[in-house]
Amino acid sequence: MSEFLQQLLNGLSLGAIYALIALGYTMVYGVLRFINFAHSDVFMVGAFIGYYMGKLVPEGTLWGGLAVLGVAMLGCALLGMTIERLAYRRLRSAPTLNVLITAIGVSLLLEYTGQVFFGAAPRNFPSIFPVRNFQLGGIIVGSNQLIVIAVSVVLMVVLQLIVYRTRIGTAMRAVSLNPKAAVLMGVNNDVVISFTFGLGSALAAAGGILYALNYPSIDPLMGVMPGLKAFVAAILGGIGNIPGAALGGLILGTVETFVSGSQWSTYKDAIAFAILIIILLFRPAGLLGRFTVEKV
């Protein structure tokens, strides 16, 4: 029983990170209807900003950790907005395929520029938050796992409030529903889309730092696998749907952890992608997504 609870906790803390990254995929898809493959590399840049910032603040303090988190989120928000401005804006009226290919291009650009600047060898991420382990019955809860879950929950609540309780959130939903009608109603689409990229990238940065806290070896290609998993999580929950992305992330993280802890641990990634295929076969719109008929 205690083993089951321990695995559940391990799975939830991994799933919370997938959920944070998946939110960025889903929000961009919501407003622009395309998959921003560069998102997983913004996640990597977030971890590296955290690495360099982590050297400036004293190790193992709560305020230091939160400051690093804040700076990385801000830095990545700017990066995300820059990518949108330089790479995607000109292609807004182009076919989706062009934007998709551009996204892959931006992704590779970030990865290999990262190798030039940061070097390809893995680096040790500093422990920016205080580290302590708690014994709860038979299970051991690490402070980092708690921080991951707490930060993820707070960010998801904040995101929900932004999207449903603010003017910019209303504008985001309007653009998502019908961009042309939104323009006619006086919404500045450029600002809304830029804001969406900023918000999604900030979440990716938070995900990057939380991931690096739990697995403190970072390198420029670290975003590839978590990015793919988060993409699966976004599809699983229903792409374009915010609670769906969170749910998808948690399910994927938990399933992956339970598979890893069993005899079939080598099939971990295969099972994650098998889930994607099965969902697409039986529920093409995802668990919480709504199926819409494309009008011609």
């Binding site: 083993e3 040790n124 971990k268």
Partner: protein, 381 residues
């Protein structure tokens, strides 16, 4: 002026003839080219960089003494970026374009297994540096190595765990995508059960994985006395960190894949209380070792070389010795001389090449304590 296609054809033809003419009019002081393929970047970079530093030291020394057969030694390196598939490309390039007389490398067994058939087909001797999987030298008669092999290393580790650490229940954590780890785990399992111990868990992961909590939680539930993590140092450091975070305060043992300064950098205090087998100890009083450390430190501002650097140095010296005895750099002659190596005094021990082209030499067990690597025992074959 000739039409462009013909000009291009002529240019290409001339280029093809170039190496041939070079071979015919062999310049007596033309450098002897030796190639290394290694991961200079990526997650196995520590091995490649250390091996290169060792080889570089040996080449410098040989050239200072007037080279080999009166010809200077030229050393070329190709980076395989810790990626599978790159070794084959790198070795083809070294042989076809750079016309090296021998290949040194690789480090990870997976990479050596990729390169070996190409060296064999081209009749270019290859000396693997730290590839301990037995299959490597079985790839062909031109494939040698300068390190001990996993059946020996596994036996040493099993004996040490059983007799010195008094382990009864051992849990195995294997990197399923590394030939090295799979082979070492298999030998360890056989030898450990033969010595009366019990393997209580066998968990697997893939190279590049970062989350081992699930596997470690499953292992913890079976209450082992020790864990054997048979993969490489990046994953080993993360395994130690996560094991300690889960409250697994037991000895963790590993093979020579742990031998890298990054193990201590990434793992920090979590790697305290771990043991691994390796090829040499910097604490050894042997004159070859002391001289090697002195020369290496002088060149790399006081840094102490690790085992892979020592193996790289030995590989180059072994090759130079064979070329000297062969009196030529022709592949078949060098191969025969390498195969006939007897009691060569290497930094990593007295080396004799056996019929399977493997050296027989002792293994060293070290312990990590207080952020330092300490010598525990030397085990002879």
């Amino acid at each position: 002026m000739l039409p462009a296609p013909i000009r291009r054809l002529l240019a290409r033809g001339a280029w093809l003839l170039f190496p041939l003419t070079c071979g015919l009019a062999a310049d007596p002081v033309a450098p002897i080219r030796v190639g290394q393929f290694a991961s200079l970047t990526g997650k196995e970079a520590s091995f490649g960089v250390a091996a290169r530093e060792g080889i570089d030291l040996a080449v410098g020394e040989l050239n200072a003494r007037g080279g080999v057969l009166g010809r200077p030694v030229e050393f070329l390196v190709e980076d395989i970026r810790s990626q599978s598939g790159e070794s084959a490309t790198a070795v083809k390039k070294l042989i076809a374009r750079d016309r090296v007389v021998a290949i040194l490398g690789g480090n990870a067994s997976t990479n050596s297994l990729e390169a070996a058939p190409i060296c064999q087909a081209a009749h270019v001797p290859m000396i693997a540096i730290s590839s301990t999987n037995p299959k490597v030298t079985a790839m062909g008669t031109y494939i040698f190595r300068t390190c001990f092999i996993d059946p020996f290393q596994g036996a040493v580790l099993a004996k040490f765990a059983r007799e010195s650490l008094h382990v009864q229940r051992l849990a195995l954590l294997t990197s399923a995508s590394a030939s090295y780890s799979v082979g070492l785990s298999r030998v360890l399992r056989e030898r450990f059960t033969a010595a009366g111990g019990e393997i209580v868990a066998e968990q697997k992961y893939a190279e590049g994985d970062k989350d081992f909590r699930a596997q470690l939680t499953a292992i913890k539930a079976l209450h082992p006395d020790a864990i054997a993590a048979t993969g490489y140092y990046t994953e080993a450091a993360l395994i130690c960190l996560q094991a300690r975070a889960l409250g697994l305060d037991l000895p963790i043992i590993g093979g020579d894949g742990w031998e890298a300064p990054q193990l201590l950098e990434l793992g920090g205090r979590a790697v305290d209380g771990t043991y691994y087998s390796t090829h040499y100890s910097a604490e050894s009083p042997a004159p070859e070792v002391r001289a090697f450390i002195r020369k290496f430190s002088a060149r790399h501002d006081g840094r102490v070389p690790d085992a892979v650097a020592a193996l790289g140095y030995d590989a180059m010296m072994l090759l130079a010795d064979a070329i000297r005895r062969a009196g030529t750099t022709e592949g078949p002659a060098v191969r025969a001389a390498l195969a006939a190596t007897r009691d060569f005094p290497g930094v990593t021990g007295l080396t004799t090449i056996d019929a399977q082209r493997n050296p027989s030499k002792p293994a060293i067990i070290v312990k990590v304590e207080g952020g330092r690597v300490q010598f525990v025992a030397a085990v002879r074959p």
